[in-house]
C-alpha cells in the first residue's frame, strides 16, 4: 500500500503531522513506519494536548520515590516498604464491549504495577454510567462489574473500594477507571529505562494476535455512527495467563538479571520498545519474525500494533537468557529473544531477514507533537437565592428517604459483593466504608485507598471542582484513620480541540495541583483520557482521584459504623448551608445551577489533621466525612452501618434546617466520641481552632430530631440498601 496523506489521516494523523513526519525522516514513511508514528503520536501515548498542563501538577514530596513518568508512581511507607500505584482509564473499549473492556482495563493496570516489581495487593475502580433511565445503562453496568470482578477475582487481588456514579452525560460514553496498589521492597523496584548495549530484548507472556489493532487510536477517537465498524478491535482478557505472568515476573525479579521491564499496553510492542529505548537513550533492534504469534501470516504492521494482552518486554543482562527462560517455561508462558539494544538511537525492525522499518527514536518520543490548545476560562456561577417558601412544603423525612435512595448515594453492595474483596487475607476495611484498608502482609502497618470524582462540581466550576476532589479523597483517607500520602489521577474529559473542554481540563488540573500542594498530597502517577464524546455530546469533566494513605498500626483503623449508645456525635468543620450543586438542590428543588461549595484549604488541612490527632489519642469511636447529601445522609449511613440510632440536639443553631442538614459544605467530618471524653476532645479542637458542633447522642434504633423527624433506622436502611439491587434485578 502506498502511503500518502489520506492513509495518514485514516491512521488518525493530521495533515500537518504527516508533513512533519516526512520532514523528519526526509522521506515518506512506509506503511509500518506510518503506523508506528500514528501510534506514538496519538493522544493516548504522546499526551500531546495535555503535556503542557500536566507539568503544572504538584508531584514532589518527601515520601515520593517515583513520580509521574514511569509505569506507576511509588511512595515510601516506611521500613523497607514502598507502595506502587496508578489509575488508568479503559472507557472506550468498555462502552463497546463492557465485559472485556473492563476486564482488560483491570489487567492493564495490574501489569503496570507488577512491571515495577510490586505484588498487587488491592484493586479499586471508578465507574460512571449514563442516566439510570437510559436503555443501555443496566447492561453496561452489569457487564462492567462482571468484567472487573472476572479479572480481579481470578488473579486473586482483592477489590477493596471504588466509586459508582450515574449522570446522563455518560449516556454515550461510560467511564471505567481501574486502579491498583502493589507492595514492593524499596530496594527492588524495576524501571522501564533500558541500559547497556547489545543486551537481549525478551518477549514474554501470551502470543501476539490481531487483537486491538488500532486500540490506542480508538481510545482517542470520538465515537460516531461508524462505531460498529470499530468493534473488532476489542481485546479479550485472559486473567489466568496474567496470573501466571505475574508469578513468573516476580520470580524472575528475584534474580539479578533484569535491566529494564515494560508491559505492553496501548500500542503494544511499539510503545513498549520505543519507551524503553527512549528513556535509556539507546537504539533497539527487533526481529519481528521471532515474535510468538497466535495467527498465521501476521505482518510487521500487525505485530507492531497488536494490543494482545498479558505480554511484557524485558531487557536482560547478557547470559541470563537460559535461566529466565526456565522460569517462563515453568509457568507455561512464551519466551523469546526478539532483539537487542543498539547504539544507533533508532528503532530498527527486521522481518524475514529484511529491514522493514528504521526510525530514530527521538522522532517518535521527544519530537512527538505538543499542542498548546486554546482554552476558555470558566466563570464562577452566581449563587442561587432560594425563596423561603420553597422549603415550606418540604418534610425532612421524605427528603431524607428520597436522597438516601438516590442512585448516586445508595448502597453499592450489589456491585462490590461481586468483587472478591477478602482474598489475600489482609482486608480489614471492606468496600462500603470511606476507604478500603489492607494490611501490609506480616506487619502492623496498613494501607488505605479510595477513589473519588465529582463531575457535578467540576462541571459547575472546574477550578473549585479540581480542588474539591483532592480534598474529598484526603478526607476519606483520614476518616479511616490513615495519613494521606499521595494520589494518582485519571483525567476523563471531552474533546480537547474544543475550547470549553480544554478549559475544563486546564482548570481542573490547576485545582488538583493547588490542593495537592497545599495538603502535601502529591500526584505520583496518572492517565489522561480525552475525546470522551459521542456525536458531539461530551461528558462532564471527570477527574478521578485515587488516594493512598498509611496507618502505622492497623489496630487504630477507624470505621464509620456507630459503636455505642449514649456516645456523642460531633460535626467537625463549619456548616454554612451551601446548597447549590448539592443532591438536595438537584433532586428536591430541581435546581442545577450555582457554584459548587467553596474549598478552604486551610480549614481542610487543619480539620483533617486535628481529626488524626484525636484518632491518635484514641478518642474517636467512629468517623465519617460529610460528602454528597450532607450531614443527615452521612449520619444515616453511620446509623445504618452500626445498626444504631441518633437523637439530634434540639438546640442546633439552624438558619434553615434543610440547608443545615443537606448542604454540602466542605471540610467536614462526623466523629463519635465517648461522653466522658467530651471535655478533652473539645479542648483539643479549640486548641487547634477547629470549628465543631455537638450534633447529638447515639440511641438505639431511631433517627430523631425534635418533633420533625422520628424514623426507624430500619426504614432508612431499606431505602439505602434496596435501590440498586431492585434496579438491577428488575
Amino acid at each position: 500500500m502506498e502511503v500518502n496523506e489520506q492513509v495518514a489521516i485514516d491512521h488518525g494523523l493530521t495533515k500537518e503531522e504527516f508533513k512533519k513526519i516526512n520532514d523528519l525522516l526526509k522521506r515518506t514513511p512506509n506503511l509500518t513506519e506510518l503506523a508506528i508514528f500514528s501510534a506514538m503520536w496519538n493522544e493516548h501515548c504522546s499526551y500531546k494536548s495535555s503535556r503542557k498542563h500536566l507539568k503544572n501538577l504538584h508531584t514532589k514530596g518527601s515520601k515520593v520515590i517515583q513520580g509521574p513518568g514511569e509505569n506507576a508512581g511509588v511512595i515510601d511507607i516506611g521500613d523497607e516498604d514502598a507502595i506502587v500505584f496508578k489509575i488508568e482509564s479503559h472507557n472506550h473499549p468498555s462502552f463497546i464491549e463492557p465485559y472485556q473492556g473492563a476486564a482488560t482495563g483491570v489487567g492493564g493496570i495490574m501489569r503496570d504495577v507488577f512491571t515495577m516489581g510490586a505484588r498487587p495487593i488491592a484493586n479499586l475502580n471508578s465507574i460512571h454510567f449514563g442516566s439510570t433511565q437510559h436503555r443501555k445503562t443496566k447492561n453496561l453496568l452489569r457487564g462492567v462489574v462482571k468484567g472487573i470482578g472476572g479479572y480481579g477475582n481470578c488473579i486473586g487481588v482483592p477489590t477493596i473500594a471504588g466509586q459508582t456514579n450515574f449522570d446522563e452525560s455518560y449516556n454515550g460514553n461510560i467511564l471505567v477507571n481501574a486502579m491498583t496498589l502493589g507492595l514492593v521492597n524499596k530496594k527492588k523496584i524495576f524501571y522501564s529505562k533500558a541500559a547497556g548495549l547489545n543486551k537481549p530484548v525478551i518477549y514474554v507472556g501470551s502470543k501476539t494476535g490481531r487483537d486491538g489493532i488500532h486500540g490506542a487510536s480508538m481510545a482517542s477517537a470520538i465515537f460516531d455512527d461508524k462505531i460498529e465498524e470499530k468493534k473488532p478491535t476489542v481485546q479479550v482478557g485472559d486473567p489466568f495467563t496474567e496470573k501466571l505472568l505475574l508469578e513468573a515476573c516476580l520470580e524472575l525479579m528475584k534474580q539479578d538479571s533484569i535491566i529494564s521491564i515494560q508491559d505492553m499496553g496501548a500500542a503494544g510492542l511499539t510503545s513498549s520498545s520505543v519507551e524503553m529505548a527512549s528513556k535509556g537513550k539507546l537504539g533497539i533492534e527487533l526481529d519481528l519474525s521471532k515474535v510468538p504469534c497466535r495467527e498465521d501470516k501476521m505482518s510487521p504492521y500487525e505485530i507492531m500494533l497488536s494490543e494482545s494482552q498479558e505480554r511484557m518486554l524485558i531487557v536482560l543482562e547478557n547470559g541470563k537468557e537460559q535461566k529466565a527462560k526456565e522460569i517462563f517455561d515453568k509457568w507455561n508462558l512464551d519466551f523469546a529473544v526478539i532483539g537487542k539494544t543498539t547504539k544507533t538511537n533508532k528503532l530498527e525492525l527486521i522481518f524475514n531477514n529484511k529491514k522493514v522499518a528504521e526510525i530514530p527514536i527521538d522522532f517518535l518520543a521527544e519530537n512527538a507533537p505538543v499542542y498548546d490548545r486554546k482554552w476558555k476560562k470558566s466563570k464562577l456561577p452566581q449563587k442561587i437565592n432560594y425563596p423561603k417558601q420553597i422549603f415550606k412544603s418540604l418534610k425532612l423525612e421524605s427528603c431524607l428517604l428520597k436522597i438516601i435512595s438516590n442512585p448516586n448515594i445508595c448502597e453499592k453492595k450489589w456491585i462490590w459483593e461481586q468483587y472478591d474483596h477478602t482474598v489475600m487475607g489482609d482486608t480489614i476495611q471492606k468496600p462500603g466504608g470511606d476507604a478500603g484498608v489492607v494490611r501490609v502482609h506480616g506487619t502492623n502497618k496498613a494501607v488505605a485507598a479510595c477513589v473519588d470524582s465529582s463531575a457535578i462540581y467540576c462541571f459547575a466550576h472546574p477550578l473549585t471542582g479540581g480542588k474539591q476532589v483532592v480534598c474529598e479523597s484526603w478526607r476519606n483517607l483520614i476518616s479511616v484513620g490513615s495519613k494521606p500520602i499521595a494520589i494518582t489521577n485519571c483525567l476523563n474529559f471531552g474533546n480537547p480541540e474544543k475550547e470549553k473542554n480544554m478549559g475544563e481540563f486546564v482548570e481542573c488540573v490547576n485545582g488538583i495541583s493547588e490542593a495537592a500542594k497545599y495538603l502535601d498530597y502529591p500526584v505520583v502517577s496518572g492517565n489522561v483520557s480525552f475525546y470522551n464524546e459521542t456525536k458531539d455530546k461530551g461528558i462532564k469533566p471527570t477527574p478521578s482521584i485515587g488516594g493512598v494513605g498509611l496507618l502505622k498500626d492497623y489496630r487504630n483503623m477507624l470505621s464509620m459504623d456507630l459503636k455505642k449508645e449514649e456516645s456523642i456525635v460531633l460535626v467537625i468543620g463549619k456548616t454554612e448551608g451551601h446548597l447549590d450543586q448539592s443532591v438536595f438542590s438537584r433532586t428536591i428543588l430541581l435546581e442545577n445551577k450555582g457554584p459548587p461549595p467553596e474549598i478552604n484549604l486551610f480549614n481542610e488541612k487543619n480539620n483533617g489533621e486535628t481529626v488524626l490527632k484525636l484518632a491518635k489519642e484514641n478518642y474517636i469511636l467512629s468517623c465519617h466525612d460529610v460528602s454528597v447529601g450532607g450531614i443527615l445522609i452521612a449520619l444515616s449511613k453511620m446509623c445504618i452501618k452500626g445498626n444504631k440510632g441518633l437523637k439530634l440536639n434540639s438546640n442546633i443553631k439552624l438558619h434553615n434546617k434543610f440547608s443545615y442538614f443537606f448542604s454540602e459544605d466542605q471540610g467536614r467530618y462526623l466523629i463519635e466520641i465517648e461522653k466522658k471524653n467530651l471535655e478533652k476532645v473539645t479542648e483539643i479542637l479549640k486548641q487547634n481552632s477547629v470549628h465543631f458542633e455537638e450534633l447529638g447522642i447515639v440511641i438505639k434504633d431511631k433517627l430523631q430530631f425534635k418533633d420533625e423527624l422520628n424514623i426507624s433506622i430500619n426504614d432508612i436502611s431499606k431505602k439505602y440498601k434496596s435501590w440498586l439491587k431492585d434496579y438491577m434485578v428488575n
Binding site: 468493534k231 481485546q235 479479550v236
Partner: protein, 77 residues
C-alpha cells in the same frame, strides 16, 4: 419447536479457554490435537410452530442478546 444455535468466537479472537483445554488434552496424551476453540450452544424451545418464522425470531435473539457480534459469530442449525 426447538431451534439450536451455535455461537463461536470470531476467528482471530483470543480463546483462552480453548487454549487451556488444548494444552490439557496434549498433557493427557492426546497428541493429535492441534487447536481447540470453545463456543456456546443454545437449545431454544419456542411456541412458534412455523419454522421460518421461528428461525427469523431466533436470528433476532442472536443479534440482540445471544451473541456479542463484536467478538462472536452465530449459526442457527
Amino acid at each position: 419447536m426447538k431451534i439450536k444455535i451455535i455461537v463461536t468466537l470470531k476467528s482471530g479472537v483470543l480463546d483462552p479457554q480453548g487454549k487451556a483445554i488444548q494444552q490439557t488434552l496434549t498433557g493427557m496424551g492426546f497428541n493429535d490435537v492441534k487447536e481447540v476453540r470453545q463456543g456456546k450452544y443454545f437449545d431454544i424451545e419456542t411456541n412458534e410452530s412455523d419454522e421460518a418464522k421461528a428461525k427469523k425470531n431466533v436470528d433476532e435473539m442472536c443479534k440482540k442478546l445471544l451473541a456479542n457480534l463484536v467478538i462472536e459469530d452465530y449459526k442457527i442449525l
